[in-house]
Amino acid sequence: MSATPEHHVVGRRTPRVDGEAKLTGHADYTVDHRLVGMLHGYPVPASIAHGRLEALSLDAARAMPGVVDILHHGHFPDLHRSPNSMRDGDAVSEVRLPFEDNRIHYHGQYVALVVAETFEQARAAAFRVAPRYRQEPGAMPGLAASDAEGSEAGEYTRGEPELAFGLAPVILDETYTMAAESHVPLEPHATLAEWREQDQRLVVHESTQGVFYQRNALARIFDLPEERVEVISHYIGSGFGNKLFMWPHAVATAAAARMLGRPVRTVLPRQQDMMTTGNRPASRQRLRLGAELDGTLVSIQHDSLTETSMVDHYVDACGGVTTSAYACDNVATRQRILPVHHGTPCPMRAPGEVSGLFALESAIDELAVALDMDPLALRLKNYADQDPQRGLPWSSKHLDRCLEGAAERFGWAARDPRIASMVDGDEIIGQGMASATWFAGRQPCAARVTLLADGTVVAACGTQDIGTGTYTIVAQTVAELTGVPIERVEVQLGETSLPAGPLSGGSMNTASTLPAVAAATRDALAALKAVATGPGGDFAGLAPESLGVESGALVAEGRQASFAEILAHRRLADVTGEGNAAPGDERREYSFRSFGAHFVEVRWDPGISRLRVARVVSSIDVGRAINPVAARNQVEGAIVMGIGMGLLEGLDYDPRDARLVNANVSDYRIPVHADMPEIDVELLDYPDYRFNELGARGIGEIGLTGVAPAIANAVYHATGKRLRDLPITVEKLLASDEAPTGL
């Protein structure tokens, strides 16, 4: 890690500024808000996945204590579907409105919302709602159960990939599949909606990664001007993508609050959270590679099929990563989607690319075996020095350093490439590696910074901290530019009453938010300089640009005056600066991506068919890490998630009728502490100033990309079994009897 000079705050390991609030229970998550007269909503989920709701018997439920109302298809206001536009900022996760009709499209789809005086009363009454369904045959339990080809959803071609494949001396043609995954954020989804009489506003607390998207969508759905809707999300217990855009529970809850004239809060139980708020869809990907005998890639064809739901068209674009991963002149990607009877999928940490890289980086490993080449050498052989898709230089790419540095720390050179050759007692050690990459993007952002007469600073932006540390990096940026100690910087996020901020998604938040905060800070300092140099000011008569900023004070001619003194002397309470930032012309000159490498060691005990990840060594190139301690935490957490993807996680649907069977955290297996390997993460420090003035590209997703294929490649090395279907569970290891030759 590079040394950061003592006086710099940006780039320094910084404890979370909201850590104390979280540890002491003062951080106000959505469920911590209670309003006078608040009611509780509890949804009734459909118990079938495909058919019609024929009748809904409510008498028993209505007679339960505390029940105030039950919303359903026959008792729900006429609302408008959101136009669902990313450009207009009103995207939603599921366009279909709750209770819109009597069709059932997936297990768990809401058929009613019980509203009662307490949570327990609402839940007990929800169990008494008696729906009668007519189940229909032909439920699609998932793409694995079908050979349907789906419909076209995008393609890309450069060169003559089919021709080159036909002529290549070494080819590979394999299919890779992945189960659908659940996001499993620690905090389940929750909505608290209040229609405020006094100012005629709809105020909604929501655990969301995008307060402005939800505000705009609610405004469209309830036909209100945007300024009459307020969305608040001060703290979020992570989302991994399934809190990016609004789900139907929020619409139903807001409608209930309006119908009943009282605030209503709905907290989804874990089962419903897993049924109704998205998933990473299952995928089937065919990879065709063609190479020269020296390993030069001459053709890559990547055909992907991913699931969507019956009510939406979600595309998890797996091939997006393949178009620029390797220097190869002939590349084609084709994407198709297949509707199945699941809840609508949505982005999940590194959407599309993480699935795509599983297939691509597994295939590259298979190709290396076929060529009898070291997989690291094969990757370096086909290194893309510039973006082969756009023909532009990379703004900053150090993947070679990642690959070589991580290999060195891992001890890759000592690996015996022969299968099952590294033995330790009952266990066989397997070692594998893969590259990691994720695009670097930015969104427009506005921010406001206020310097107060008491010497404190308030920074405000309508973005969110989803648990990743946004509060802290905003405070660091302001502290860096003002010299005010970080303890004296207050950060306000997560409200639509603040300047419009970006989604917390796509690893774009840091690069989007901090330049706007920096601009607002400079604007506030300029305003302060104007005050200081104006009549009666501490530096009256001096040119504002002659003033410097040091430690919360302005300085000139060997004198200094603190921000507080300057404001006090002019009898001002504060000065405020506004800042805006957005992606600009840099996109025409450069391509922007982050890069990394994972080296994985597994231990395979063939006597009891037990596979564990023992060690992960990673190097990550994301430009500058604003807060290295939080950045490292993101990568370590992502590696853990990658172990889940590689070995454990998959949503199980009943093969007969598409019911989701394991919608709980006992049967849907995420890694536990005992599964944790030794994790060694290196963050390279190459600031990307072509991307933004802070040199940061964002770090939320990249750590997950490449982990699963590195595991699968290590499994091959240990077992000789090429597992092309995630998760790699014991039955697949026991069943696979493929000859250990790779091709």
């Binding site: 307490t118 037990r610 070995l647 454990l648 006992s666 039955e731």
Partner: protein, 332 residues
């Protein structure tokens, strides 16, 4: 809200008495099964009797050297009890392979014997389940049944008994003391859990009774034990297949062997035939494999769990191998 009567019992007799005339009543100790299932609307007790104040929290050594375990001894206390570690290491190993530290701190010996299956269809009140709702059918038999039983199932039910502790009890041998309205009786642990047959909702040989103690059979000596639990992740998960093995060795010949299985059967599964096969044999892999084959001879796979048979076979062989190693070290 679903209401129920709640009473705290201060004596065993009183606890049993409070149960009378209330068929839907339930005892609560650690609550690690009951509370979850009430919240899921799977168990709907009309009366809950809190037995935590009862004097059933000690492990005693009887005059004949057997250990008598109070029904309210927590899984944690039992696993680390010095007499258990000394006489019955398999019991400690099996308990510590189950659940999590937090759950083991709450869960009790009696409650562990009474824990319900993890079959997802049992735990979903909208699904068909003969165990939860007799006559409603079994969604697991032809549904998603990766976790289900390959031994002891019936057309009516293939739900696995989830306990690790009970696998050790099956291998060790134990007597349960039950208190009923008409006094106390004793029952062999092997007879306590019932096979599902045509009545999967009747899980135990209990008649309005409360488990008050578990008395372990005398220990085998010299003894090697091993509990091998195979599961998807490394902790906090129910078994795909587990094997508890106990061996006494005379030189390199097996004296007495005990073997029980978890995760694969509808009740804690003792393998008597395999044990008989092992007695007097040389302690080597071929014998262990032969025993495993006998233990699993009747196993019948469902659509998603055929892997459990080879996996259980591996767990058995490894458990016997490791138990023999320990016994050998003890002999040396």
């Amino acid at each position: 809200m679903r209401t129920f009567a709640f009473a705290r019992a201060d004596s065993v007799e009183r606890a049993v008495e409070r149960r009378q005339g209330e068929p839907a009543s339930a005892f609560v100790a650690g609550g690690t099964t009951l509370l979850d299932l009430v919240k899921l609307d799977v168990m709907r007790p009309s009366r809950v009797i809190d037995i935590n104040a009862l004097p059933l929290k000690s492990v005693e050594r009887l005059h004949d050297d057997r250990l008598r375990i109070g029904a309210l001894v927590t899984n944690t206390d039992l696993a680390y009890h010095p007499d258990v570690l000394a006489d019955h290491p398999l019991l400690s190993q099996a308990i510590l392979a189950g659940a999590s530290t937090q759950v083991r701190n709450m869960a009790t010996t009696g409650g562990n014997l009474m824990q319900r299956t993890r079959c997802p269809y049992f735990r979903d009140p909208t699904a068909a389940c003969n165990k939860r709702e007799p006559g409603s059918g079994c969604d697991a038999r032809d549904g998603f049944n990766r976790m289900h039983a390959v031994l002891g199932g019936s057309d009516q039910c293939v739900a696995v008994h989830p306990s690790d502790m009970c696998v050790a009890l099956a291998a060790i041998g134990a007597t349960l003391t039950l208190q009923g309205p008409n006094g106390e009786r004793e029952i062999d642990v092997a007879d306590f859990h019932r096979l599902p047959g045509a009545t999967p909702h009747l899980e135990h040989d209990l008649d309005d009774e409360l488990i008050v103690a578990v008395t372990l059979a005398p220990p085998l000596k010299p003894l090697g034990t091993a509990y091998v639990k195979r599961r998807d992740r490394a902790a906090y998960e129910f078994a795909l297949a587990s094997a508890g093995a106990m061996l006494s060795l005379d030189e390199d010949l097996i004296g007495e062997a005990r073997l029980a299985l978890g995760g694969v059967a509808t009740k804690p599964w003792r393998c008597h035939e395999a044990e008989a096969l092992l007695a007097g044999k040389r302690a080597e892999i071929a014998a262990f494999e032969a025993a495993a084959d006998v233990a699993l001879a009747d196993a019948e796979p469902l659509s998603h769990n055929a892997f459990k048979i080879p996996l259980a076979r591996q767990a058995i062989v490894r458990a016997l191998r490791d138990a023999a190693r320990v016994a050998r070290e003890d002999n040396a």
